[in-house]
Symmetry: D2
Subunit: 411 residues, 4 copies
């Protein structure tokens, strides 16, 4: 059954093509749709469209659907198209006429949007919690190893001395900013679209949009009904942008760790239970987990690009194109969650090789300190720089141009 069923059948290839994976993906939204449908039913009750008994039955059935879904027992069939239809079908099947009343004063458009925004709010809050846990894991690492000296690098070349505390502290500081971006995204999506219907509001019926917004704990009502449609994809891109930003930090931290875990750098290592082996090289201990965190940044970024790109150049009002923002949204959020989680495990198990870290602080890394020492004695900075430059061993250790020319001549 489709909500718009008029007794004609859709071409089976077209049906499969248009539904895509929605009947599988949509289980993420069932609980939120039940919550929103219950709030909507209560509002219909205040409007006199459903009576008290009908409301009670709808609320019970919606709660039941949410529970069934949690147990993995609520079925969304291909021909349902999505969870919203499956829920209305279930209600109509169970409650008859009462079920057929619930779609008054709303459209599938605002219904989808409302469920998505509730999902997003929940996930953004969940990700923020994960980021807090990740910050704690960074702090713990600093508590254990913070004072250990470490070479600081620029251009991948040894530059000046730093410490594990400063290096890891950079990611802790980044995590604070990431939380603020999550808050900004959360504030953006915290607008109730329920009651905007198909983007043109609800003719004749007097809907109480503030009431449903309040019940669903939205911070405000999205007043302009066409903006609700314009926000689809746009808001999702902001949510994914906040995820990308977190993933960016994880990408950079993973990159550092992968380098520090090479035998050449040798600063850090992971225990066997966090490394994998090779099918032919029995000696290998591979940090796959960090490679996959590094790589997954690119996936989340591409999910964001999908969302931004596919909603462009579209006329105002609902376009089916935007249905395809669901999968990138879910994928981006779930990937981000799993990467933060696994990074917490990595951080908890990481250990450093103190000897190698200390030994890596070679003499030339203190050149800037020597420059500044001269500055303190009154030498202009640029002069001090040139004085020290003449004394440091050249890391290149290249022969002079003359020597090289001679060598080339074979003399």
């Amino acid at each position: 059954m489709k909500l718009w069923d008029r007794g004609e059948s859709l071409h089976p290839v077209v049906e499969r093509f248009t539904v895509g994976n929605d009947h599988l993906l949509d289980h993420r939204l069932v609980a939120y749709d039940c919550q929103a449908s219950a709030a909507h039913a209560r509002m219909l009750n205040t409007m006199g469209i459903i009576d008290d008994e009908e409301l009670e039955r709808l609320e019970l059935s919606l709660a039941e659907i949410a529970e069934m879904d949690e147990r993995g027992e609520f079925e969304i069939r291909l021909e349902d198209e999505d969870c919203h239809t499956a829920i209305e079908r279930h209600l109509s099947g169970k409650l008859g006429e009462t079920g057929r009343k619930i779609h008054a004063a709303r459209s599938r458009n605002d219904q989808v949007l409302t469920a998505l925004r509730l999902y997003e709010k929940h996930e953004l809050a969940g990700i923020k919690q994960l980021v807090v846990g990740y910050s704690d894991a960074l702090d713990d690492l600093v508590a254990r190893w913070g004072s250990l000296p470490l070479p600081g690098y620029t251009h991948m070349q040894k530059a000046m001395p730093t410490t594990v505390g400063t290096w890891i502290g950079a990611f802790a500081a980044a995590a604070i900013d990431d939380q603020r971006q999550l808050d900004a995204a959360l504030h953006l999506v915290d607008q109730s679209p329920l009651g905007t219907a198909a983007g043109f509001g609800v003719p004749l019926l007097q809907v109480n949009r503030s009431a449903t917004a309040r019940e669903l704990d939205f911070g405000r009502v999205m007043h302009n009904p066409m903006y609700a449609q314009l926000s689809r994809g746009k808001f999702e891109a902001v949510v994914l942008g906040a995820c990308s930003q977190i993933m960016f930090d994880l990408n950079r931290l993973a990159t550092d760790l992968l380098l520090f875990m090479t035998s050449e750098f040798g600063f850090a290592s992971l225990p066997p239970e966090l490394t994998t082996g090779s099918s032919i090289m029995p000696q290998k201990r591979n940090p796959d987990v960090l490679e996959l965190v590094r790589a997954r940044y690119h996936l989340v970024l591409a999910e964001e690009i999908k969302t931004r790109s596919l909603c462009s150049n579209l006329m105002s009002g609902y376009n089916r194109d935007v249905q395809l923002t669901k999968e990138p949204l879910f994928a981006g959020i779930e990937t981000t969650r799993s990467c933060i989680e696994v990074m917490c495990i990595v951080l908890a198990e990481l250990r450093f090789d103190e000897g190698r870290c200390r030994a890596a602080l070679t003499d030339e890394m203190f050149a800037t300190e020597r420059v500044n020492d001269l500055v303190l004695r009154g030498v202009p900075f640029r002069d001090a720089y040139r004085i020290v430059a003449r004394t440091v061993a050249d890391p290149c250790a290249w022969p002079s141009a003359d020597e090289r020319a001679a060598a080339a001549r074979g003399s």
Copy 2:
């Protein structure tokens, strides 16, 4: 069981994180791995590493696995990591020592690559067939409606007369070029990586790489073993690039059709079984199928971006990051296939409103023809242009600057 199992267990969260969806996705590769493993076994036989009887048992078991998988009965468990391990596990379980011999002279790295390249060759050929069918559908449409006049547009404004035949013919011409790009991609991937092992070849053992390449119908051997690793992701991006190119044409054709099917343009329509309805607007007939083709271009493009982006800035040699090119590859290919298929159905069912098409050829669209008529009479082109410009009704129909100024003054 993992191929590299050394009796230590991997952290369960890390295991799930590293395997990702591979145990589900990899069913696409089982048949190709069985084919490649059989070719490899035959080569091991010529090397004397497995005897004739062992070879026969391996070949039988591999054929059996492929059949099981086709029936949906071959299991790839999370702890197998991927289909390659599941296959070796199955062989070892069934054939004992013989099964434990098959991984000699190869690595999982070249095993994955070989299966992927066989898959890609098969899919590129399949997509080419679909493009041929799509070309036929375009030709059929031209045969039916080709001579029908249609306004030609530039800047979305009516420009000069054209026909359905010219318009659809542009897509037919594009499809020819797309086939050439598919051929170029096919030629690129048609190199056997089998025998490059982990990117460093096979020490001590004398592998016959030409023999396995020939058996697997590869056009040539990829001689440099490190290039096999460098090609991972790079070749996949080219395959996806060929898909993007096809999708680009479909995106543009869908965009045209969506516009021509608005009530305002009204040139074309689709039958009910290819359109969907609205949950609240009983009068609607929506061309969702075309919106989703349009949108899916952006998805395929983003899958290509994923592949190109996540393989960048990586050190030579295998990096686990590249495992994540599998899902975009599969997604991009499957999306492209389904869009071509559905577009063939659309083209077969599309019909035009002759009256509205003809009526749309309004007089001003012949202005260039009038210019050229003057040119034929010897008027320099730019002069002819200005002469005609003075005579055509201005589509803007804006009052002159003076009139507007007067109106603004209220006079």
Copy 3:
């Protein structure tokens, strides 16, 4: 002269390659660097590294450089690499030893970052002002045309009645959210990096980072010196993300207008001075300006992608790669500015064809209203929907499957 000049010359091709366009692009940063260098000099004065007279001379020279640059007279030579070197060269040339003192207690790394962040703060504030102006232009349009009825569309098909006010109001609502994202971006970048030097702080010297931050009107100090480096590219991506979001709205508004300005829709038009002509079709009036707004969204999005992509998979600490985020940042910001500006002109000049707008509200668009009327009379929504569905003229007007089959048989 390079800041790091040690008497060896850089290969000329390499010099050109590494400098890129920085010597041209960097004029955008000269004023900000002068401002930051003056603040830094005042702090060096409090540290006793430069005396009061030196400070005065530095402040005068820096002010002079900023003025020269504004007049287009300050030269950044290719061999200077960037504006920062050109400024130090100028100071050293003019002030001798005093000029050679100014680089104490800072590095080019934090110098670049500080100038960039001042630039970003200024531009974000400027863009916000433009968005306010654009909102005003939207409001003016609503004031003039708001009550004019307009068909509302879903799936590009006529759906339900709406008005110019509701449609344009959606963009006004979007502009409010965009301002909030600009604020979030502004808050993020409002952290002073000055004093983080090359990412490892300043050995031996006691810098007063709060003092310079306060003088430069930064909201807070970025305490972790390695975070300053990690923030490069990441913050720029957030700034560009805020731009992309604005551009997204403009893209959608331009798409609507381009459609509404076709002769087929015919709802709106632009005066001749905002349209262009064709080289061969004398009758054309083309809305290029809107096509270019639409297209430039994609450019800004790609500038954001550049920034996000090129900073990935990099080791912590400065990498020269990030220098290449400058051009996308400037391009994205300047494109966004120009598009908002031009859109304000478009909105001021846009006018509607009342007759065509009203005539477009055809009868079937009121079907949902008829459904709701039945709902008010007590008919369950889904039943009312089906009742109305049977009465509306089918926009497809396709013959039944039987009729079509008969036609296909030629009977």
Copy 4:
């Protein structure tokens, strides 16, 4: 003067906005437009639209324009919009009526396309030459250092022995495939659009498209005039895709070199004239040149994305949006050229530290060889793997779980 000038002036902000940088960028196309315009004039002569004397004067003037432009003396003014208008203006100014005849039987649309395709063909051939030079540089490097042993890495961990020859050989093999992709791109763009006019052909006039195609050395005529418009952006994306592919290899090679040039790996180095210094760390020798090659891959990729993204969701026929593909095309091509050129210099100057390369081949890297030795003696591969696994020193050197638990208990 604009080609479509009708005596009305364009709003100055709109003029600047629509022209963008075209008047600067277009100098790249002047020579190609002159070449194509001359071919077009010869065809107009055979049609009788211009006589022999006029033809001669046009040919002379066009040659003169090309020479002026090469000397930097041909001006394209903002109000010209582009080089095509500037050329027609110049011809009309100089030759009067003869100049005003040249635009017969073409449109600016096919004129731009023709110049672009000639430019692309020239650039693709030029890039191919550069790739040949780069291949030679790789070969030279192999000739000098090929037999030097080098550790092979997987997962950034030492894996098995390899050589400089194998490692660099992978890039040489990649360069061969890249040349094939350049050929495929070249074949694609080698179609003459001249005579397709605005996408609808030339009414009344009998143009000889084969003649101009032959004169301009195009491989074939693009017969369908609307395909010429559809190919805009699409072909450019393929050209940029071929560039991206080359840049991908350079990105990977640069990444390897940057790693091998760290003091920790220490396998390779560059002479002082290819490295830069730090503004505060006098000891630094930074490989900026390689970091910028690495980063510029992302820029070229984003230019490709721009092209692919901004042409999507557009109606058939010319849309001004596609004008914006010019800048990404030029940027992508020029960036690619400069990166190949600079990489040739790097390869010529690179040298290896033999001692460190040899010393890096530590014992555990031969574990697979030992496994294969057992295989040769008849041990099944997987059993041999496990035998060797027990004997190799664990690179992790982690205490057992028991030991760790004891340590955690503090016992």
